[in-house]
């Protein structure tokens, strides 16, 4: 049978590969979703729920034609975070989202991946001037919004929780 993942594009940056998540990521995802860092992105999750994250991410690509990538360093297949685009039941519009696992923050990796993914989305996926949701207390993520040129747009609610919505610039305006 043809694997769906064959249709998920792979992106390379200077240091990173963005690829489809795989079952081989399960152990690292489970470890991440037991850390406090995961509380910003739906954690903590059980192993079975992490399995559902992998399967659900693959299904998201099939249902929407876009979705989240697993991030890893070139030359080391270990997943270090996820980044990409979400549009699920309850979302206002497609969102650019990310998370980085413990020990990989502060190196500009999310910024590097986000710039490449955002350019890919504008060029190939028909997604531009996207939003990103942030928990108002998630200062690290909000700092990254600013580095990406995203501007605070409004307060709203996502799945019953208060969120701040940031709007990314149009890709043509990003130099």
């Amino acid at each position: 049978m043809t694997r769906f993942t064959a249709h998920i594009p792979q992106i390379e940056t200077d240091r990173l590969i963005l690829r489809a998540p795989a079952l081989s990521d399960l152990d690292h995802l489970e470890a991440f979703y037991q850390t406090e860092r995961s509380h910003w992105v739906g954690g903590p999750l059980t192993r079975n729920q992490c399995w559902r994250v992998i399967a659900g991410t693959l299904g998201h690509w099939l249902l929407n034609g876009f979705g989240m990538w697993a991030l890893h360093h070139k030359g080391d297949d270990r997943i270090i975070g996820m980044l990409g685009f979400l549009n699920m039941d309850g979302w206002h519009e497609p969102e650019m989202a990310w998370n980085l696992h413990e020990g990989f923050e502060g190196k500009g990796l999310a910024l590097e991946a986000a710039l490449a993914a955002r350019a890919h989305a504008a060029a190939h996926l028909g997604l531009d001037r996207m939003i990103s949701y942030a928990d108002p207390a998630n200062t690290r993520s909000i700092a990254l919004m600013h580095r990406l040129g995203a501007r605070f747009e409004r307060e709203d609610a996502l799945l019953g929780k208060p969120v701040h919505i940031y709007r990314h610039p149009k890709s043509a305006e990003v130099r």
Partner: protein, 201 residues
Amino acid sequence: MSKASIPVLETRRLILRGPEAEDYPDFKATFSSYRSRFMGGPLNAYEAWMLYAAEIGHWDIRGFGMWMIHDRTTDETLGMAGGWQPAKWPEREIAWIIWPNVSGHGYALEATHAARQFFYQQRGWEGAVSYIDPKNLDSIRLAERLGAVKDPGAPTIDGSDAVYRHPSPAALTGTQMAHGIEMEIANYADPLFKPKGMPLD
């Protein structure tokens, strides 16, 4: 993108196809209701969407998964049936769920029998189990109508479920059990067809 890679199964009354985006509202209606209490529900909107996406991703990861059951004539969805094996599942499971407003017509029996035959005949499965909440009497009854037998020694998912072991491919080839299942399905499709030995319930 690749719905074509999920096989399509046809039975007398049903068509089984991979889950598609337009079927999601039907899925959500059942999985956000009390009907789904034995399948991990009721779920909120986010959980329901993630599970639906995971049903599709399951095909990609395992090479098998759950089909959406459609009425052959109206194309309406009736429920889901197929194979299921996420993390922590000791064995491959055959699973089903029927939307509450269309239960009682034998759709789960017909769809699950077809799915099981596909896995046995086309995919070389030597057997399968169903993990069922002991309070889910409708599902236990269906497992028994499919010839599955409670296997008290088999490993469970988390100790709260009963394991029903399905008959082997050989036990479903030209046997009295196979004929019985097919006769019951035929009776649902054509209630006037009442062969000798038809179960009364």
